[in-house]
Symmetry: C2
Subunit: 139 residues, 2 copies
Amino acid sequence: MAYLAGFLDGDGSIYVRLKPNSTYKYGFQVAPYVVFFQSSKSKENFEKACSLMNFGYTRERKDGIMEFIIGKNEDIKKFLKIVKPYSIMKKQQILLMIEILDFKEKIKSKEEFEVLIKLINRFQELNYSKKRKLRALTP
Amino acid sequence: MAYLAGFLDGDGSIYVRLKPNSTYKYGFQVAPYVVFFQSSKSKENFEKACSLMNFGYTRERKDGIMEFIIGKNEDIKKFLKIVKPYSIMKKQQILLMIEILDFKEKIKSKEEFEVLIKLINRFQELNYSKKRKLRALTP
């Protein structure tokens, strides 16, 4: 568990995207991810490290980068709860992402979805993303 | 210790350079390093993680990358012995680097230095370095 926390801190990314999508009730798909990156030349060892987790999948990009992706909400929560006590660099992101995923499950109104969007915007600020788009239901 | 092994596997580099230097007995300086890299925007948390180690130093490059560098032979050995039982991705590098550092201390002849160079060349092959120059005392 401590190893995975160190691996996440050194190499991993936690992020969440709000994708405009009219088939969703409130107009957005909430897409959280935990991703690890390594050069394909370390493929074998990378897959060995990632196999410590019983979820997620590996893909190899055309530019020679391997990605290990945890994309299911339940898996992300499981993983974050494992590394939470040990992470040093991503503690805040871990806590806020768990809050976001827990909150997301309970949403019953547009007002609550707006609160979720605020949490997501706050998360994106933690990540210092320069490409970040601040979203709002009612601009 | 497991956290540091994960951090090393995810983010760290272990390498050794043979620098031609006529002031050294056998014409080369052996310069091993353990280095971690993070974007300067994570400076505070990066320094927190690095402070788990009681050696090494941080420097901030002009391109916005922070480096944490362990450069002293003794410190590198201490660090590698700490992470050895837990590392998954860099196990081979760790074992060979410890062998190199132990062997280096005992060198008493040019022949032994040539053996060291072979170990170093083998290490550099493990790292898949494309910039690698194979060195030999007697070309």
